[in-house]
Amino acid sequence: MNLMSLVRRSLRQHALSSFVTIVSVGLAAGLTMSVFAINAQTYDAFTGGKVGFDAVLGARGSQLQLVLNTVFHLETSPGNIPWTLYEEVADDSRVTLAIPYAVGDNYQGYRIVGTTTQMFTDFTYREGEGFVLKPRGRIFDETKKEAIVGYYVAEKLGLSVGSTFSPYHGLQFDEKQRHRDEYTVVAVMEPTNGPSDRVLWIPIEGIYRMSGHILRGTGAVYRPTDDAPVPEEHREVSAVMLKLRNPQAGFLLSNTINNQGKVATLAWPIGRVMAELFERIGWVSRILTMVAYLIVVVAAGSILASIYNTMNERRREFAILRALGARRGTVFSAIVMESTTITALGVLLGYLVYGGILSAAMVIVRAQTGVVLDAFKCDPSLWMTPVGMIILGALAGLVPAFKAYRTDVASNLTPLS
């Protein structure tokens, strides 16, 4: 038997209030850790620069819209740029890789992107990591109606090598907008845990020749035909994904295209563009953080209240303990230890709550953006929140502990009846 035995006994004697308090602390800890972790992970995922490209060239307009549309496959395309501009930038010595990118169709709501085979041969989305195709898969033939399907799309729609599908016009799924063309899946990608998992990739030629599509590369309307090649001057791209030789190249290109030019926009650097988005919506994050802090304070209050409410009935117990030789400090410590124990148990529960919230958030964020959050990623909030809450829990115990400390022994040892 030791001081902890007294704490354990008290928790058992006040099982209901202890349980409710532990749950409230658990929810507070779990919510707080989740808010911080989700904030940090989404910020990292969208601004961490691990998208594989340094810059995006697109139609004149918002850099943010360009990045969201091309890198994260969200939002609509701001417009198209002529193929010649792609060729011009691809030939620029400051550019090490330029991949054209055309959008405008979907399958069951998942975006279809027209590109070149370079996307699967030269592009790396992380240091040394290019797209990997699952066994039995191969890169599409740029002259055929073939598709490579992102991991998440394949999983959700049950597509595999040999499956066929017909694209739908537009970025929103509308079953009335079905194209006549039929594409065959030639590969499914291994997961990248990024936005590419939510995309169906087809040859860019396929976008041009999709039934009903018209091209305006020269400004005039051009309708491709099956038997003739599409003249270069009529071709358009939604964007060009660029890898640059060095940051100076980005600075110079940005100056040329954004400040001196009038037809295109260069979104560079991608991380900064996304960081601006987070700065713009930073108030949401700040409100969530404040709510989390508020919940923590309420939880600390509930610890205080739950222990304080037992003080009257426990005065006699403290008096007896004091009569048996317990020092005031011992009784004080027992109460602080009790509040600390409640908080520690709540924090343990908080990790479960955190796991639950992160699991749900992972599913939602992945479904919306393709980005996979990592519930086990080490975030400072995962230890700072528990430590902070345990300190706060101990502080919450001070008020009832002081009341126990002041218990008058003689007057509380009176007969029960």
Partner: protein
């Protein structure tokens, strides 16, 4: 000498603010292993007197020397320390903790003293005839059994002095006699002195030395029925 009390005074403030002297004992002493009964009527300051000796209350003036420690000049924590090592206390209403078993109640007495000794706690409960009730909580025990747990707890830290405040006050005559005999026997076996206060004249006759609090406490004589502050006095 185990206990030496000199010019001990303790007063309390009444609700009207007036201070009332409750204990005024010029001289009282107890030898090691001695058993003394003190008779006092209700409100004569019996409990206050014991609480002062136990160090639960601080005296207004006077001296209490307990086992060589002048507890009247000690800090509260110092008195707590002396109490946990030197004094065992059997309360009139036993003051057992309701959520704890008999064994745990006895071990609680050890928690703040030299240390928990479960074997000794079991031996004490066996000695008071409760070997079959160690896992019972106070609410599951008879009054007599609760009192025996209280006796075992009082002896848990091998105290040199056992204070017993109306220990048989809640028992009928037959059980009171048995309980008294048990307390005296186990105190003797454990070489503990016993200071027992009671208002029952029958109990006093069982002791070789008995005192009347009316003679010991000059304040008791002055107040026929002082108002109660802090429980029985």
């Amino acid at each position: 000498m185990l206990l030496d009390v000199t010019d001990l005074k303790k007063s309390f403030s009444a609700p009207d603010g007036e201070r009332t002297l409750i204990v005024d004992v010029p001289r009282f002493s107890l030898e090691a292993g001695e058993q003394v009964a003190v008779r006092g009527a209700s409100g004569s300051g019996k409990t206050t007197f014991l609480n002062l000796i136990a160090g639960i209350l601080q005296a207004d003036s006077g001296t209490i020397v307990l086992d060589g420690n002048t507890i009247t000049t000690m800090s509260e924590s110092g008195r707590d320390r002396v109490r946990s090592k030197t004094v065992g206390y059997v309360f009139q209403n036993f003051n057992l903790l309701q959520g704890y078993t008999s064994l745990e109640n006895v071990m609680l007495g050890m928690l703040f003293g030299p240390g928990v000794d479960a074997k000794h706690a079991r031996a004490l409960l066996e000695r008071v005839g409760l070997s079959h009730r160690m896992g019972y909580r106070p609410g599951q025990l008879s009054i007599g059994q609760q009192q025996r747990v209280a006796v075992a707890r009082a002896l848990a830290n091998r105290p040199k002095l056992v204070l017993a405040d109306e220990p048989t006050g809640n028992l009928d005559q037959r059980h009171a006699g048995e309980a008294l005999a048990l307390i005296r026997e186990v105190c003797k076996e454990n070489s503990a002195a016993l200071l027992l206060v009671s208002h029952d004249p029958a109990i006093l006759s069982a002791f070789d030395r008995s005192e009347d609090l009316g003679d010991l406490n000059r304040a008791a004589a002055a107040h026929a029925a002082p108002s109660a502050v802090g429980g029985t006095r």
